[in-house]
Symmetry: C2
Subunit: 231 residues, 2 copies
């Protein structure tokens, strides 16, 4: 059985169920931590700190952006040199905390997409996730334009930003990342992904939930928090 | 330079600093998640799911017990068959959530130390941590007596339970675990540990904090959240 590609609605329902006190029982911060860790770990499998030490994380205003901040922290612990572009920062304790964790590690916050892409070996696209719909606004229009024009490999978190979560790369107008790390389960739009490396991250789904939603998840190897979907 | 062994007071101060909005910036739940994950991962390095599939986690009423619940969940995802003895359950959202996460994975909660040790290949001692002082009360007196009398290997989280955090195994009256997973940095009492395997878990200390406290931490390999201190 092939792994299931989720509708936006199913992805949202699974997220709610994971955090329900009578469902998965997770806190939001636990899921963000495990998701971000899985992204960082997946990156190490394909882009080593020797060949791609300088990583620019582009974080959007929502939860996808928080996954990016967590990934930046773990990448720093793993020996990479991350920097973060995080132009829209909701005034919430989780954001503040995750930013502080980066600052404590001397991870710089840069103030434009250009600074993000300058002297950089790898980009993490954590701008929009599975909740995205509607129109992209500045400064993310510029960031996504820059993604279209760069030759630096891009790792997208959950779904390439500004793609339609279900319809994917509509009219081929989006950028193609080199790597995609789907979280929990791939979204339908991920079928348009043509890059080299497709991973699944987020090792926190119970067998019950997997069966209920018919996810057909692959086995994660060892203690890894991610699994290669191309393998 | 050798790794530093912390006083109880230093361990508490580092914990406060890790969670300070002007220090590490971490939330309590993030640290519990990463600590518990590191314990589960360290266990896989020494006790495989093939040789030691049935793991009994003994969780105390405080934070050490929560690390145990997180470890039980990750061990389940890693393919072990954990069960949990958790007799004192403070009525707090974190406890409730972590218990629910175990229940969602069909991890059973047992109601006595005897059931914990019955048909079990490995014990995780997450009863008391670095905040412990004073006297042990029931039902933990019985649990710790059972630890003294069993031949099942025991993995202690941070400090063997009922040991003095600084004075260690006073008068040799405590049990000796086979493995110790120190968190953040070893506590002074850990010098009395005579078991085979000593690991350090918790990969979240900044270089700044490491230098400030003179911790001399070893390097964590790859993406591991734990490191073998015997190696």
């Amino acid at each position: 059985m092939a792994i299931k590609y989720l509708t936006q609605r199913a992805a949202q329902a699974i997220d709610v169920e994971l955090m329900s006190p009578t469902g998965g029982g997770f806190s939001f911060e636990q899921l963000v931590e495990l998701a971000g860790l899985s992204v960082a770990q997946a990156i190490t499998k394909e882009y080593s700190k020797e060949t791609h030490p300088r990583v620019a994380v582009f974080s959007g205003p929502g939860n996808n952006g928080l996954d990016g901040l967590v990934a930046a922290r773990h990448l720093s612990h793993f020996g990479y040199q991350p920097k973060v572009y995080y132009p829209k920062r909701p005034d919430k304790p989780t954001n503040q905390g995750l930013m502080r964790q980066c600052t404590e590690l001397d991870i710089p916050f840069v103030d434009s997409p250009e600074s993000g892409l300058h002297d950089t070996d790898l980009v993490v696209d954590a701008i929009f996730g599975f909740s995205f719909s509607g129109e992209v606004r500045q400064p993310f229009v510029s960031a996504i334009e820059a993604f279209k024009n760069t030759t630096i490999p891009i790792v997208s978190v959950d779904i390439p930003s500004a793609w339609d979560v279900e319809q994917g790369n509509v009219r081929g107008e989006g950028f193609q990342p080199s790597m995609l790390v789907s979280l929990t389960a791939p979204k339908q739009g991920a079928k348009d992904f043509k890059g080299k490396h497709h991973y699944l991250g987020g090792r926190f789904i119970s067998r019950k939930m997997e069966e209920k939603w018919g996810l057909n998840l692959p086995r994660f190897p060892g203690t890894d928090q991610c699994v290669n979907l191309n393998a």
